[in-house]
């Protein structure tokens, strides 16, 4: 399988729209960041991909073909949602061997080695784990799954800095060995920005950005200085948002940087993923006078 495509996917729960006409393609061998605020539709999207939820309309395609029940589509994918789906009294070791039963490509040995790398006790039951440890359990399952498309939903939830560090290195180590597609869904952005190659930003059920990280970062810039100078400079330009601090302002602008003749009074900067994300997904009308 070379790619998975979502075509015109919409999903409603009762009267509320969770996803609205989503078109996306996940290609093989890439690291994606699926970003959105809480409730943006990230988890719904992942669940539709994995067949846990049916879309209200739209299609999921594998290599441009409609997915059929007898395809080995799900064998290529791995997604773990809330670990509540697992029997909570069972030990991690047993859960690994049961996963192997359903998924012959599952690498039990690797799962156990990651378990000890992260300092988990494989004889413990899922119930006895803390939030962070449950997150790790999910991550270990995914990384050991042998799937070519892995979807990680909030893979760093509750993890301390040390373990996040080990996790990023583990993901990259595995990815370097044999590239697979990994879609990291999170609202904690800054840390993953050096890892991801392609960024998808979801906002209120819609895709607002879907492009390589490099081009996303190059799509705009920041300009800061005294309020009057900033206001004069940005008039007629496409402004994403403005941060104000007393008489000082920083504006975020879409388009190519035009510094000429303004270097004296204004300072120009590059956008970070975090800044772009906040500007693209902030509540509208926040232009405070």
């Amino acid at each position: 399988m070379k790619k998975i495509t979502l075509s015109g996917i919409s999903k409603s729960f009762g009267g509320s729209r969770a996803l609205e006409n989503v078109d996306l393609t996940f290609e093989s061998g890439k690291i994606y960041g699926l970003l959105g605020r809480n409730g943006a539709g990230k988890t719904t999207l992942l669940k539709i991909l994995y067949g846990i939820l049916y879309p209200s309309s739209g299609r999921v395609l594998s290599d441009d073909k409609e997915i059929r029940i007898n395809d080995n589509f799900l064998g290529n994918l791995f997604y773990v949602g809330e670990p509540d789906y697992f029997p909570v009294e069972t030990s991690l070791r047993k859960l690994f061997s049961e996963t192997k039963y359903f998924r012959p490509e599952f690498d039990t040995e690797y799962a156990l080695s990651l378990t000890s790398l992260f300092g988990l006790d494989s004889s413990k039951s899922l119930r006895s784990l803390s939030t962070g440890q449950r997150t790790l359990f999910k991550d270990i399952l995914a990384l050991s799954s042998g799937a070519s498309f892995i979807f990680l939903d909030e893979p760093i939830l509750g993890l301390d800095a040390n373990r996040r560090d080990i996790l990023y290195r583990t993901i990259l180590g595995k990815y370097n060995e044999s590239p697979f597609t990994i879609v990291i869904s999170t609202h904690l952005i800054e840390e993953i920005s050096s890892i991801v190659e392609h960024v998808i930003i979801l906002h209120e059920g819609r895709v607002v950005r879907d492009e390589p990280l490099d081009s996303l970062l190059a799509s705009g810039y920041s300009v800061s200085g005294k309020k009057d100078a900033v206001r004069k400079y940005i008039s007629g330009k496409s402004v994403m948002g403005i941060d104000a601090l007393g008489g000082f302002e920083c504006a975020y602008i879409l388009g190519a940087r035009q510094e000429n003749g303004h270097q004296d009074e204004l300072e120009f900067g590059r956008l970070s993923l975090q800044k772009i994300f906040v500007q693209m997904t902030g509540s509208k009308g926040g232009d405070d006078k």
Partner: protein
């Protein structure tokens, strides 16, 4: 080699510059091997495509070269090439911007030269 990345510039450029620093300081002597993209990717937690992009900048400049199946090595003459390049950058980044600022402040050429002498002497 210790990489600390700032937000302001693309990571691949910063990686290329820090590798250059390593070559200039002798941490990576000429004809020695530099870390692979995999090592750089894992160690500094960056996408391997980013690491490759940074390394390819140095390959394009002839600072490092690839030995098929063995890895990447510092080219002979890389140090001289880099220090020439850095001197040129020194002129653009520091001298030109200093002159610009001096003009803005109304500092004359002779005053500026006097200040440089004073700085060198201290």
């Amino acid at each position: 080699m210790e990489l600390r990345f700032e937000e302001e510039r693309p990571i691949f450029l910063q990686l290329a510059e820090q590798l250059e620093d390593g070559i200039l300081s002798g941490a990576f002597p000429e004809e020695s091997q530099i870390p692979s993209t995999t090592e750089i990717s894992v160690r500094f937690k960056m996408n391997p495509a980013t690491a490759l992009k940074g390394i390819n900048l140095l390959v394009d400049d002839g600072i490092i070269y690839k030995k098929r199946g063995l890895g990447m090595f510092v080219s002979e003459g890389a140090v001289e090439k880099l220090s020439d390049k850095r001197k040129e950058q020194f002129f653009e980044r520091f001298v030109c911007s200093m002159i610009e600022e001096a003009r803005r402040l109304g500092i004359s050429e002779s005053d500026m030269i006097g200040m440089i002498r004073r700085g060198c002497a201290s």
